[in-house]
Amino acid sequence: MSLNERVFIIVPLIASMFNIFLLLAVGSVKKDRLVRSFIGLLLTFTAWSLGSLFMRMELFPGPPFWYMISITGIFLVPFFLYNFVYRYTNTRGYFLRSVLFVSWILITVMNLSNMFITDPRMVMDGNERRFVYGVSPLLALPVALAVFTIIVACFLIYRSCKEGNISLSQFTPLFVGVFIMFFGTVAAALPQMVSLPVDTFSCSINAVCLYYMLYKRRVIHLEGIVSNGPIYAVSILCAVLVMVNAHGRFSALYHRILPNYAAYEVIVTSVLMTLGTLGLYQLFHWLMANLLTKKSEEREVRFREFSTAASKTLKLNPLLQLYCSFLQENLRGQTARVFLYHPASGDYRMRGTTDVAMALKDSFPADHPLIQWLSAHPRAISYGSFRRTQNYRAMWAKEKQRLEEMDVTAILPICSNNQLMAVTLISAADHSRKHRTLSTESMNFLESTSAVFSIGLNNAVMYEELKYKAQRDPLTNLYNRRFFHENLEKEFALSKNHQISLMIISFDDFHLYNELYGTGEGDRILQKFARALELLVGSRGTAARYNGKEFAVSFPMCTAAVAQEYALRAQEWLRTQMEKPEGRAKKYLTLSAGISAYPTDAASIDELFTYASMALFSAKNNGKNKVVLYSRQTGAGGLTDSYRDKRALADSCASTIYALTAAIDAKDHYTFNHSNNVAEFASILAKELQLDAEHVEIIRQAGLLHDIGKISTPEAILTKKSRLNAEEYAIIQQHVDASISMIKYLPSLDYVIPSVLGHHERWDGKGYPRGMAGNQIPLGARCLCLADSFDAMMSRRSYKQPMAVEDALAEIRRNLGTQFDPRIGEVFIRLVENGTISIGRYSAQ
């Protein structure tokens, strides 16, 4: 076979392979009228190139048959081109199309009877086979019709472009290909070109143009998943053709190089063929995957994984990270910035990015034209399209400049329940790609991603909202007591090796303020104060509404002096507010604050609270409108007066206390003495523990009143000689709550409540009524517990004999760490042993 002959086979072969490949690719997708019209066009191209190839190869049933196939393909190209354009431009009206269709059918029939190209045949020219034919003057007829048909197609495109339905650039590759084919066909008839297959060569260029049109311009939206069938078919076909052509030469080469392995020739050939076929399969798979919209199963898998993970993630930051990572994986060469709606300010703040080196500094206000547009049109938009909107006109120059600096290519809104929750800006990371718009496929993919993210975001936002509500006080929007405690524990843990201060602020005579100005005004000042306090404290600490009129503020890593400074500022703020009551009469409201600090005052969180409360009580009892720092030194600082006041208060209430204890005496004589003993022992213990005088006084009074609730206990149970049954024991346990209920009616003595409430609690948490454990039990209560137990053991009761002092102390020692605070218990034992606590009174029993 001569070189020329080979060229005449190889070129049409390549053209045919291209066309068959495209045909199979398009044939495997979802078909509509447009796709069918495109398949028709591809069929004509395939018939043209394949017919030419087989004719040259003189395959069965012979060159005349393949000539007819080829020439029919050539003649039908103009009509199928028109038909494709007709479908693509959605042209209405069938008349012209029908006329053209009938005309081309007639032309084809006439052509089949060799009216235009006469006497086509293969001749031998020396060693070369040539195709020769004659031309009838009638050929002008199909040529004229072809020109007319192509002009009509061009007109349809022009009209559609003018109406704005399509872009001319989409069709450029198609027309370039068709015109190359046209000139190739004309050139083939020239004598100079007769020895070259320019027509089929132009056919292969046309196929490349079509591929480009489908892949880059996305003229037809090809939906489908890469199917292996057509790829296998093409790969095998190619491999067979290669084998048929190359086997002879390969065999000769094999025998020359490896004569000793001639027996294995078949096996080696088979293996190489298989490998070659697999290589071709990979090549075609890659080519076809580029053509199809849903080209990547891998991407789908990733998308499913993202979808599942997003729906399971409830916290905002992990969700954002997930979203950014997903975008990073799937948008190569692009940077995404995620702006989240910030309900408090109403703006959209940058919260995430795919570029870790990028600062999260940008934000969009709610009235930003971009936000307004996305709220009204919740769908992905290219930056170019946004620039064409009127909203773009409303942007400030610096806002436009910022978006330009970001090199934004696409904007992705994330909406839920008709509210714009977030915005994702996709930017070209590489500046040279600035004006490249994302493909439809990418935009669709982004929209799907945003839909998934919006569900996750909605869940996360709801979760955050619930969490926020659970942590906040509804009136003041400050943290609530529960969160404050949780937070303080964390802060305490962090500050364990440093220091932390606690401040409790309470409005003085707030009930009076409410009565004078109404509860509405009371709520208003609480809200205003809360806002001011939050601003005042800032990042230095955490402020919370502790209860009705009380606020608590923790200052990690700060001394009590720092807290005091803030308390004074808060006091000053309130004073200013009261002096400038917005044009109305001056009002009267002051605040007191108590401060304690770790490790100087307290050893635990509970002690911090206890001492801060005590300091606050001290402030209240020292004329109010004061800031008091807790101090241990008895008689020192501001607590001296407080102690005196407490003492005076106790003296003034003595009659009440004695009246109450006398009532118990009437019921149970033992209890009266018991209360006095407990008060005495506990106050001695408190003094020994270096508590301040006021605290000691509180414990003494608590000792007097700790069993006051026994008034409500039936006398029969109190004086029962035998052991109490479970029911009776339960009744007697109620005396603690009964005591509290009674003390509540003595508001001036309410400071004893913590100690009274906890005097039956156990160090191991098995006590009653609250089941508190360890340092949670107020210090006063722990003192009372020891004094109470010791007195109970040492006393004669109707149901028991008094214990010896050694036995009582041994019992206490045995229960250290279970019932009693071990540290205080040791002190108590020492006090008894060294006689500080006198036990002479028990000898009279």
Partner: protein, 546 residues
């Protein structure tokens, strides 16, 4: 991306959306753009010495505060900065300066700075107007590269001269004559050459001053024929075949039917854009002559290109991003004229009443220099929305200059100060006068100066009204350069002098108690004065002449 590239790559819908979709805005959306851009301007102004001059009471934080705190301004408030072009005083560095006549000012011309943002907006808006000029409805237009454009507007540094320079980088339009050649020519030469080229090569788009165009339309024969009424063969051969066919065809019909050649016989315009104060008066005749209704655009040196008509060509819509617009109703204007200390109230675009006349007050956006600036133009609000065109915005028509300014054919603007100067220079024995803008039977505007002669002056009796007119016209020529262009370009005699009986004005004031404004008296006032003088048996009758 240039406009030409957009035409190639984008669909008509997308291009329409970019340039003309402001017509789809709701009133609220329109006001949002206005208010937002105003606050940008306030922000820019607050940082420059010129702005601080107007923000003495503090920087306004809202539109309402802006309207309360910033006074209404006129060019006098800016003259010390803008005439010497003190760029450091401005909110943004200007890219270029434009100028125009300062009627009644201390200097012959006013200057206005144009920033980059203003020029960008100007360009977008003028392309929008160009699309609308060739449009028959939404999303349809016919603009393409290579269009032949006859541009007969005043060259740079006048505002109208900016279009060719701005549009040139965006799309290849073939201006006749080319922009470079036009720069070397006078305005008159430019027009003449342009028309000749248009007749030779055809034209697709026409931009012109309506008064100039009107004059040209009426004397088209002069352009289509050489002297003697016959066409020279050499000239015929220089025409493009298409134009030759049209010309011969028109000539044939002229002879056959005895009707003159109309521009529409020669030109099939795709777009026809008119600028000028008297467009409304000429447009029907222009449409009849050119076969296409002219589209009017509104603008000026200070306000930039601020409005355009739509495809229906029945009312201006103001661009939302050129200026912030406020409107002074006519009643407020009258009150201000009667009480010079009175500060008139302004209203916003969404507070207008259909059918009312308003003086326009603008704040130029995108770093412009003018805040609450009284341009001196009066517009009528035709309607608040146009249901037919589905436009939800008010549409306007240009009425005239404010009563204190007499504008003749868009060329010259005459104020009380100028007339006083001319009278003083002429040393004519004129005791009292007032001036009114009137129209002749061909709808051409002219200045009618009503004068009372000083009867005590010995020369008074010897002066005829023709002498008065000639004398005054001479001084107007001397004093106002634009005035002389009227005669030269339009063949218009813009001055008429009417001598009224001495004491008529006094009598009018005594009888009605009304004040006669020196410029811009109402038609009723003029009629009443004339009636008063004719009711007395005064010798001489009507001594008006032109």
């Amino acid at each position: 991306m240039t406009f030409e590239e957009k035409l190639r790559n984008y669909s008509a819908k997308e291009i329409w959306q970019e340039y003309c979709s402001f017509l789809d805005l709701s009133m609220d959306e329109y006001m949002t753009i206005q208010k937002r851009l105003l606050m940008e301007q306030v922000d820019l102004m607050s940082r420059c010495p010129l702005g601080q001059r107007f923000f003495r009471k503090g920087v306004p934080a809202t539109v309402e505060e802006f309207r309360k705190m910033v006074p209404l301004t006129s060019f006098e408030d800016y003259a010390d900065v803008l005439i010497p072009q003190k760029e450091e005083m401005l909110p943004e560095k200007p890219v270029l300066w434009l100028q125009t006549t300062w009627e009644g000012g201390d200097f012959p011309s006013k200057r206005a700075p144009y920033t980059e943002g203003m020029l960008e907006t100007y360009k977008t808006n003028i392309i929008g107007a160009m699309l609308l000029a060739t449009s028959h409805g939404r999303n349809t237009f016919c603009v393409y590269p290579g269009m032949r454009v006859l541009y007969s507007l005043a060259p740079m540094p006048y505002a109208t001269g900016m279009f060719p320079d701005l549009i040139h980088p965006e799309i290849n339009l073939r201006f006749m004559p080319s922009v470079r050649e036009a720069r070397k020519m006078s305005f008159g030469q430019q027009m003449k050459t342009g028309y000749k080229l248009a007749i030779k090569k055809d034209m697709n788009l026409f931009f012109g001053m309506s008064s100039v165009l009107y004059g040209a339309t009426r004397s088209l024969d002069a352009l289509t024929q050489s002297s003697g009424g016959s066409i020279r063969l050499r000239e015929l051969l220089s025409l493009r075949p298409k134009m030759l066919w049209r010309l011969l065809n028109a000539k044939y019909r002229e002879k056959r039917d005895g009707t003159p050649i109309r521009p529409k016989d020669l030109f099939h315009l795709q777009g026809f854009v008119c600028v000028g104060t008297d467009t409304a008066l000429y447009r029907d005749e222009l449409e009849e002559a050119w076969g296409i209704r002219p589209l009017e655009i509104a603008g000026g040196t200070e306000p930039t290109c601020m409005g355009t008509e739509t495809w229906s060509k029945n009312g201006l819509v103001l661009f939302p991003d050129a200026c912030f617009y406020e409107f002074i109703p006519e009643t407020e204007l009258r009150r201000e004229m009667a009480e010079p200390d009175y500060v008139p109230n302004t209203y916003l675009m969404n507070e207008l009443v259909a059918g009312q006349n308003y003086e326009l007050v603008i704040t130029v956006l995108h770093g412009g220099a003018f805040l609450r600036y009284r341009v001196g133009d009066v517009y009528r609000c035709l309607r608040l929305r146009n249901a037919g065109d589905k436009i939800d915005l008010p549409q306007f028509e240009y009425v005239d200059r404010v009563p204190s300014v007499i504008d003749i054919a868009g060329f010259t603007r005459i104020t009380q100060r100028e007339i006083e100067k001319v009278i003083r220079l002429s040393r004519l024995p004129i005791a009292h006068w007032f001036a009114v803008k009137e129209y002749d039977e061909q709808n051409r505007s002219f200045l009618n100066l009503y004068v009372e002669l000083d009867t005590e002056d010995a020369d008074a009796n010897a002066i005829g009204c023709q002498l008065l007119r000639d004398h005054l016209a001479l001084y107007f020529h001397f004093y106002d350069g634009d005035y002389s262009d009227l005669k030269r370009l339009l063949n218009v005699d813009p001055l008429k002098v009417t001598v009224i009986k001495t004491g008529s004005m006094e009598r009018y004031t005594a009888r009605t108690g009304g004040h006669i404004p020196p410029v811009g008296a109402t038609k009723e006032t003029v009629l009443e004065i004339l009636r008063l003088q004719t009711s007395c048996d005064w010798e001489g009758g009507d001594r008006a002449c032109r």
